[in-house]
């Protein structure tokens, strides 16, 4: 339920860019449609070659035309793919600006006692990490939805839970580090080091376990989807591989998946604060 609410809210931000979004999605569709034709053309080349062998004649002209068409296909498809990215950049930047502005304004409206029970680091991380995460989601997921038509949805759901947990534990651990370092004088004079180490080890262990679960479930997505595409011939398959490993390489995948929970957390924090 909550996910749907968050999703709706996220859509709310996108509403103002309806026309632009439609154009962006159209570009994505065109780009993908052209890409889908590529293996078909490659197949045609092989067929022509076979036909040539069978007939004893070599159909140079047909092959050259096919190859020229293949190159043209790539150019057109990637031109639209670029247009889509180009348009998306504007939308994401604008939406992020709006969200940041709203958080800032909310900060000035919140009841003061909210600040008694939240550390500055905690609130600050809303505007840094969480907003960043949403940024990556919007810019990549929307695109991914169209280009990948991914079967990862199920796995995403499973790993989302762990990512939320992992993010929370990471926050706790970092908060603990910050607090102990800031209070070093007291920690030392009260010889609290051993107790601090013990508590840290406990938090650290919990984080380790949780991130293992998250990484394993999320990591399963990419090889499975990649492998499922194995039998799609050459070009398209390598493109899938490219897309997915690429995203992994930039270590963004993890952020995508926590985005919704992060967004939800941010909302929850401010909602409870303002007593809505």
């Amino acid at each position: 339920m909550k996910n749907i609410r968050i999703f709706k809210r996220l859509l709310g931000y996108l509403k103002a860019y309806r026309l632009r979004l439609v154009l962006v999605l159209l570009a994505a569709v065109i780009s993908t449609a052209f890409m889908v034709l590529a293996p078909f053309l490659v197949g045609k080349v092989t067929t022509t070659l076979f036909a040539g062998i069978a007939d004893g004649v070599f159909y140079w002209e047909t092959i050259l035309w096919l190859l020229a068409a293949l190159v043209a296909l790539y150019f057109v498809s990637q031109l639209f793919s670029f247009l889509q990215g180009f348009g998306m950049a504007k939308i994401t930047a604008d939406v992020m600006q709006t969200i940041r502005r709203e958080i800032d304004e909310k900060m000035h409206r919140l009841k003061l006692n909210y600040y008694d029970v939240h550390t500055h680091g905690d609130i600050l991380s809303v505007i840094t990490n969480d907003v960043d995460t949403i940024n990556n989601t919007i810019s990549q997921n929307l695109t991914a939805v169209v280009t990948q038509v991914t079967m990862a949805a199920g796995v995403m759901k499973a790993s989302e839970k762990y990512y939320g947990e992992q993010q929370e534990l990471l926050g706790k651990l970092n908060g603990y580090v910050e607090e102990m370092y800031n209070g070093q004088t007291v920690v030392q004079t009260f010889h609290y080091q051993e107790r601090a180490k013990k508590e840290f080890a406990r938090l650290n262990d919990a984080l380790k376990t949780s991130s293992r679960k998250a990484e394993t479930t999320a990591g399963a997505v990419s090889p499975i989807t990649t492998r499922l595409c194995w039998n799609i011939p050459g070009v398209l398959r390598s493109r899938f591989l490219l897309l997915q490993e690429w995203q992994e390489a930039l270590a963004r995948q993890r952020q995508q998946e926590i985005a919704f929970s992060a967004f939800w957390m941010q909302k929850r924090r401010f909602r409870t604060a303002s007593g809505v």
Binding site: S81, H108, V235, A249
Partner: protein, 574 residues
């Protein structure tokens, strides 16, 4: 890097296991195109359906197998990297716990926090990448080249052009993108700074009704950031299309060249198809590898910052003078102590000497920044003096085990740091597993029991980080109670009564006097009224003791003290 890997224990079994799995996975990926080639040559070309189905089944089998292998290798890689990160975090945290104040100053708290958190995360991410991509990519590239050369060598010459073009394009786009990302980073810092400023000043901003002005300032930086983010996004959105085009043109070139060789009879159609796959595999691997290489400098910098922490030893060394052999109790003596903070040009304490005996209260007064707190820090051995000796119970402070020394010193810092948790947990800093009785007793002495009992949850009332949900006075009393919990021989109060009203101040001092017995008290104070009845008052100016005596004596012997007293108490009273 070396430093880190010498300290973090990775399990060789996991790594060799991962290596094997990755090897299998690479071979599996290479086998598929070969089977595809066979299928085309023997099945499709000769129109034998049974052969096609056989190869299809083999390929499906390999696919399922490599799915399993991939899953396992992801699992192992994540085990290795999370284990690595957890060990590293623990090492760094433990090391910082041992740091003395000097090392804390040297690095700065904020920098240490970054090094213990996001720097480690960054290195962990890089390790994950290395384990998942860095291992596979070189194998794939090598295997791809070998297979391609073996099955139709001529077409692989396309790579001679394709790889350099790919690398150059990648580099150019990355240079532009990283330029933007640096600018973006700076603008993001700016946004965070403004936001934090508003956050810290939120009460003041409300009080002066300046929300609009603050928001306008924020919005300016926000808009600026959005513009840069958009430009950066546009540059990066060039990357994938350009790479795809390079891949596409390469495929077309391979097919074109291949068609020529098929025509001359030097190549079969099946191996041509397989070759186009091998070549795109090689290209993919080269690209991923170059990505890993591009991310290396940042991660290396992070690793270096972590190593610096691990390489730093605490400048304060532990000895092991047995507590029961101490010649005296509850005495503090400074003998010609000179002390400078690390990196400071001028010593903050010069030639300081004094004695405080059991049952005595020694008060220290003087202007701000003149070295009063430094005297107290030397007693708890947060720092060591440059010259001279600090004797605690007749033994040089350096001779003790730190834990022993601090077990009988109750320190109340100037900044009354409390920790998130509840009141009881904070009091238990002074005594592990303290009971409700202990808390009550300590809190009563510190005049804290009253306000604690008024809280809904009493001793289990939540305390926010830094104790910000308590008032300044409440925090001070909590910090005092925390020290009282220890039942120390030596009390060290660093300006610990400043936030109390006169009445509480007097009451608290009365309670302390009654309860501390033979303990000695050393306190820094601002208010003359707080120290009127001290056994000894040290007047500190410019790092030197310029007056030493009781209130009455000092009024006559120390002009500076007389001046302070006249200002605070009024001429007539003095």
């Amino acid at each position: 890097m070396k430093m880190i890997f010498s300290k973090v224990k990775l399990k060789p079994k996991q790594i060799s296991g991962l290596f094997l799995l990755v090897l299998f996975s690479a071979v599996g990926q290479m086998l598929l195109p070969s089977f595809l080639a066979q299928m085309i040559s023997h099945g499709v070309a000769e129109s034998k359906n049974s052969v096609i189905w056989m190869y299809a089944a083999i390929m499906a089998g390999i696919t399922v197998l490599s799915c399993i292998i991939s899953f396992l290798s992801v699992k192992i890689a994540s085990y290795i990297s999370t284990d690595f990160a957890a060990q590293l975090r623990e090492l760094v945290f433990s090391r910082v716990q041992e740091f003395s104040a000097a090392e804390m100053d040297q690095f700065g708290t904020a920098s240490l926090i970054t090094r213990s958190t996001s720097d480690i995360t960054n290195v962990q991410n890089f390790l994950t990448l290395l384990l998942r991509v860095g291992l596979l990519a070189p194998m794939m590239a090598a295997a791809g080249l070998v297979f391609s050369a073996a099955t139709g060598g001529q077409v692989s010459s396309v790579l001679l052009v394709a790889i350099p073009v790919l690398l150059i394009t990648l580099t150019i786009i990355m240079i532009f993108a990283s330029r933007y990302s640096i600018r973006l980073r700076k603008k993001l810092d700016q946004i965070n700074r403004l936001f934090l400023e508003s956050l810290e000043g939120v009460r003041v901003i409300r009080a002066f009704n300046k929300q609009k002005a603050e928001s306008a300032r924020f919005e300016e930086a926000n808009g600026d950031y959005a513009m840069t983010a958009m430009a950066a996004g546009r540059i990066t959105s060039l990357l994938m299309p350009v790479i795809s085009v390079i891949f596409g043109v390469t495929t077309a070139a391979v097919l074109g060249m291949g068609a020529y060789y098929v025509n001359t009879g030097a190549m079969e159609v099946g191996s041509l198809v397989a070759n186009s796959q091998y070549i795109s595999m090689v290209l993919t691997s080269v690209m991923m590898l170059s990505l890993v290489i591009m991310m290396f400098p940042t991660s290396y910098a992070c690793a270096k910052r972590i190593s610096e922490v691990l390489e730093t030893e605490s400048s304060i060394r532990d000895r092991s003078f047995p507590l029961e052999k101490r010649p005296a109790h509850a005495t503090v003596e400074f003998r010609y102590v000179t002390f400078a903070y690390p990196g400071a040009e001028e010593p903050i304490l010069k030639d300081v000497s004094f004695v405080s005996n059991p049952g005595e209260i020694t008060a220290i007064i003087g202007g701000t920044g003149r070295g009063k707190s430094s005297i107290l820090k030397l007693i708890s051995r947060l720092y060591d003096p440059m010259f001279g000796e600090v004797l605690i119970d007749g033994v040089n402070a350096k001779e003790y085990r730190m834990e022993d020394l601090r077990s009988f010193i109750g320190y109340v810092p100037q900044k009354n740091v409390l920790f998130s948790g509840d009141i009881a947990e904070n009091l238990n800093f002074g005594k592990e597993n303290g009971t409700e009785e202990d808390w009550k007793q300590a809190a009563k002495i510190a005049c804290a029991d009253e306000f604690i009992c008024k809280k809904k949850q009493g001793y289990h009332e939540a305390v926010a980080q830094g104790g910000t949900n308590l008032s300044g006075g409440q925090r001070q009393r909590m910090a005092i109670a925390r020290a009282v919990m220890k039942k120390p021989e030596i009390y060290v109060f660093d300006d610990s009564f400043s936030a109390l009203d006169m009445k509480t101040d007097r009451q608290l001092r009365q309670n302390l006097k009654e309860s501390i017995g033979e303990a000695t008290v050393i306190m820094v104070a601002q208010r003359i009224s707080t120290i009127l009845d001290a056994d000894r008052i040290l007047v500190v100016d410019d790092g030197q003791i310029i007056g030493n005596g009781t209130h009455k004596e000092l009024l006559n012997t120390c002009p500076l003290y007389r001046e302070i007293a006249e200002i605070q108490l009024g001429k007539e009273a003095v």
